[in-house]
């Protein structure tokens, strides 16, 4: 018995490698379905599934169905690298979508580039990502823009002079955004009076907030994820800090308010789209998403949904289905009417699109303004 189990354990790894041929169009997705960043990977996956289901239900692309192959990278860079290698060489996908985190996109991009397979990231805002090669695209705005939006909004709308920054040192997204914000805010005549850090996954931020409180800022810029921001808002209010909190698209989730409760009300963040939009594309998307998953889509879902549609459109335009042709067609994307705005891919293979500022008001997000590049 014991030996049987041990033998079984020993041969288990060998069962691995087997490739299948299929008539479908294979598209790969790599994302953090488990691990600390799982929430973003899961949203992304929902958006993609919804988009491809819609396309397949409508008959696919030129008669061919799309098959999405999803690989979990557990939120680890090295797993992302091997996931992409696997998608390309083992599963033979024609295009890849991913990742949310810039770090993992940067780890994966050179591999896609090397194998000449187009890779589209829907939410990696770090500028480095698309510099990895001409097969790498992005459908969201980049950190310098978002940081600029945050700084401009703080100075012009909130009339802030002194800002404190609370950055997540574990996240390259957060660090990049914080750096841009600091530079832009100073350029616009403001002053950064505190620049403190935390680590994603922390629960207690009172030490940082106490320090910030003593410096009396007009605004606190927190380029973090909603998972921490909710708690942070609570603790800030408990410490008697009343100034507005400002953040980026990492805040966007229904949970933000559920965790932060009334403490987060009145805070602002820049986002890819607003649920208040009357644009039929958006209204339709939100309605269908709620039907399918019983929750309000966050911006990850919206972005991945758009990305899937853009990719599908590019594939539809190809005469012959090769990765090279898909790449060429992707590059030609102009004024694509997405949920997150009209999307045009520029020469740097980045999306040119505007950002919106929204204010948290309970479960609602009140639209404040749109900032165009």
């Amino acid at each position: 018995m014991k030996n049987t189990i041990i033998t079984f354990l020993a041969i288990l790894p060998l069962l691995g490698a087997c490739t299948k041929k299929s008539n479908d169009i294979l598209i790969g997705e790599f994302g953090s379905l488990t691990g600390n960043d799982a929430t973003f990977g899961l949203s992304t996956n929902k958006g993609l599934r919804m988009a491809f289901d819609e396309i397949n239900a409508a008959g696919g692309i030129n008669g061919k169905k799309i098959k999405l192959i999803t690989i979990d990278d557990q939120g680890k860079s090295e797993e992302a690298a091997s996931a992409v290698t696997r998608l390309i060489t083992q599963d033979n996908v024609v295009a890849i979508i991913g990742e949310v985190a810039s770090g993992r996109s940067i780890a994966a991009a050179p591999i896609a580039q090397k194998h000449q397979i187009p890779m589209v990231t829907h939410a990696s805002t770090n500028p480095e990502v698309t510099k990895k090669g001409d097969f790498i695209f992005r459908t969201c705005f980049i950190d310098p823009f978002q940081g600029f939006v945050g700084a401009k909004f703080s100075i012009q709308t909130l009339k802030a002079k002194k800002a404190a920054i609370l950055r997540d040192v574990k996240s390259d997204y957060s660090v990049g955004l914080a750096d841009v914000f600091a530079t832009e805010f100073k350029n616009m005549g403001g002053e950064i009076i505190a620049d403190l850090s935390f680590q994603g996954g922390d629960l207690d931020f009172k030490a940082q907030l106490t320090q910030i409180r003593s410096k009396n800022p007009d605004v606190i810029f927190i380029p973090g994820y909603y998972t921490e921001v909710g708690l942070m808002a609570k603790q800030a209010r408990e410490l008697g800090i009343k100034v507005p909190l400002v953040g980026g698209d990492g805040w966007d989730s229904a949970r933000l308010h559920e965790i932060g409760k009334e403490a987060i009300n009145g805070s602002y963040y820049s986002n890819h789209y607003t649920t208040e939009s009357t644009d039929p594309t958006v209204v339709e998307f939100i309605k269908k998403f709620k039907e399918k998953f019983n929750e309000t889509p966050d911006s990850m879902a919206a972005l991945s949904y758009d990305t899937a549609k853009i990719l599908a459109a590019a594939i539809g335009r190809t005469k012959e289905l090769t990765p090279k042709n898909i790449r060429d067609e992707l590059a030609k994307t102009t004024d694509f009417p997405g949920v997150t705005g009209k999307i045009t891919i520029n020469a740097d293979r980045n999306a040119v699109k505007s950002a919106v500022i929204v204010q948290v008001q309970g479960p609602e997000r009140k639209y404040i303004s749109t900032v165009s590049p």
Partner: protein
């Protein structure tokens, strides 16, 4: 030819042949997994020196690997000499430098091990690993949380394979011969009974620090290889879980068995990949659930690890004798 290099060279030649087959026979994904197996083997063998042969309890191996990886990646990306003409000399120099810096860190971590034992030592090494990671996280020069990207890769798979095998063989033969020498028996005596070892004239302090330094060197080398294979490293690649993974490989393979370490490296690297196919059937990702369950089962069913403290030839001999 001197016999000291004969066996390693034969082994190397055999591996090269195998590498040649892999080069054309399988796709890049399998090739990448093969490279990870080799790197993990170096990691496991080197940790075996501390945990298996010297009986110390280190939980900070990822830290040493990180130092090796960062050093070599930094050298490869920052100094044009390495990146432009990434010739063999350049690769070699960066790898060695990575290993040396890692062993310097190993020296620092080895020092507290003089006073601490068991769980306390484990926790302190864990702490050192975390300190290294947090420090890297905050060093702008090496990219902070962004890590280092665009690390030049080796020219091709065959080169990566041969070069990794080259180091794996060095690591293997180094430890193999060390353990069969008087120096190595000193290591073993520390594991068996420190007080008796001291009484028999073994400088246990020196021995322990030596074990840490040598082990970290190879961990650093493994890190350097890792950096150039993945072309991207960041502090989150070297978490506590990676150290745990290294310890798991050592215990799974058998404390004090080099061939066991290699077998365990195969198993631990391949299993999660193999289980990926399962995901298509079940729909949910049960890989890590199964992985952890297997780990518990193996510890209960075979607490001494796959090979115990025996090496493959011993087991082979025993098996042949039994069946004859």
């Amino acid at each position: 030819m001197h016999k000291s290099v004969k066996t390693p060279l034969i082994a190397f030649a055999a591996l090269l042949l195998f590498g040649g087959l892999l080069n054309f026979g399988v796709n890049a994904y399998i090739q990448l997994i093969v490279l990870f197996v080799i790197i993990n083997s170096i990691l496991a063998m080197s940790l075996n020196l501390v945990n298996g042969y010297t009986g110390q309890f280190s939980l900070g191996h990822a830290g040493f690997m990180a130092i090796g990886a960062y050093t070599s990646a930094y050298a490869s990306t920052q100094f044009s000499f390495f990146s432009e003409s990434f010739g063999f000399i350049g690769i070699f120099v960066t790898t060695i430098t990575g290993g040396l810096l890692a062993s310097a860190a190993g020296f620092l971590v080895g020092l507290p091990s003089l006073r601490l034992k068991g769980d306390y030592l484990a926790i302190v090494t864990l702490g050192f690993g975390e300190i290294i990671r947090v420090t890297l996280l905050n060093m702008e020069a090496v990219g902070g949380p962004r890590g280092i990207s665009g690390i030049p890769s080796f020219p091709n798979f065959f080169f990566s394979f041969s070069y990794s095998c080259f180091w794996a063989l060095i690591c293997f033969f180094f430890i193999w011969r060390l353990i069969r020498s008087s120096h190595g028996r000193g290591f073993l005596s520390v594991r068996e009974d420190e007080i008796a070892a001291e009484a028999m004239g073994i400088n246990t302090t020196k021995t322990k620090v030596q074990a840490f330094v040598l082990s970290s060197f190879f961990a650093g080398v493994a890190g350097a290889l890792f950096a150039h294979v993945t072309n991207f490293i960041s502090p989150s690649s070297f978490t506590f879980l990676m150290s745990v993974n290294a310890v798991i490989m050592v215990v799974l393979g058998g404390m004090g068995s080099l061939s066991g370490s290699i077998a365990a490296a195969f198993f631990i690297t391949l299993m999660p990949e193999a289980l990926r196919s399962l995901q298509e059937i079940t729909g949910v990702d049960l890989r890590m659930v199964i992985y952890s369950l297997l780990l518990i089962l193996i510890m209960i069913l075979r607490p001494q690890g796959l090979f115990g403290d025996k090496e493959l030839p011993d087991i082979w001999r025993k098996y042949v004798r039994k069946s004859a």
